[in-house]
């Protein structure tokens, strides 16, 4: 099942990358990042079946980082929305110079 799981994981990761590149809604871009994290978790779990349980423990840490990232990222999006009244990424160009 390792090869199949890696295939599904790769496809999900690439869907996430395409989503990040094609969407302009900041929240959807953020959810695409979560999808990429999930795809990597699938690889970790599949490898854990072959290499030992450390892969599953790593998934724990990835989940924790994802939860922390979701909290901080959504707070940033709320702060940006207060500032600009939009979450469209083409209107958020504070760092563009």
């Amino acid at each position: 099942m390792l090869a199949e799981a890696l295939f599904f994981s790769a496809v999900l990761f690439c869907i996430g990358v395409v989503g990040v590149l094609t969407r302009r809604n900041a929240i959807i871009v953020f959810m695409c990042v979560e999808l990429m994290l999930n795809a990597v978790n699938l690889s970790f779990v599949a490898f854990a079946q072959v290499y030992g349980v450390a892969g599953q423990i790593f998934v724990f840490f990835v989940m924790t980082v994802a939860a922390a990232e979701a909290a901080v990222g959504l707070a940033i999006i709320i702060a940006l929305f207060r500032h600009r009244q939009t979450v469209n990424l083409s209107n958020i160009n504070l760092l563009k110079g």
């Binding site: 790769a10 496809v11 590149l21 290499y51 840490f61």
Partner: protein, 185 residues
Amino acid sequence: MVHNELPLFYVFHFYFFGLVSIISAVCFVTRKSPVAAALWLVNTMFSLAAMYVLLDAQFIGAMQVLVYAGAIMVVFLFVIMLLNLGHPSELADARGLWWKLAAGVVGVALLSQIMTLAKAKIPEALVLPEGTIARQVAETGAIAPLAGPLFHEYLLAFEVTSVLLLAAVVGAVVLGKRKERVHAG
């Protein structure tokens, strides 16, 4: 478990949930409405949880449902509704045709790179005997094989994780707070 010994329903369910996850991910990326996109992503995460269970990671599957589909996606939906973004945005959300084509090319290139990497030879010394994890789960339950290493070898990482979560909570509160004094001054 050796591949040709796998029961047919196991293989069928694995492919079934894999296909469901990919189809829901495609729907998630193409939906205009953020709420519909979030719900498709929840569907992807549920089918990923089912795949974790099929890959002998029952506890990770439960965590996937509780933490990802339960907690993280609920926070996303809260923010979507809090900011009243539930309707498809009147501004063009997706980028133009050329940008989409470029993104598709990048996606296909990345997919071929990852698939090439996945064909790499696995060093024999690292590979466990077939079915080791399944046997551990059958002997000691789904949690004990994870809890042992987590609180011995990875104890430092576990503690650092709690500091990370504390920092995230503080950061979220600071960022989410209204800064009226800054505007007044």
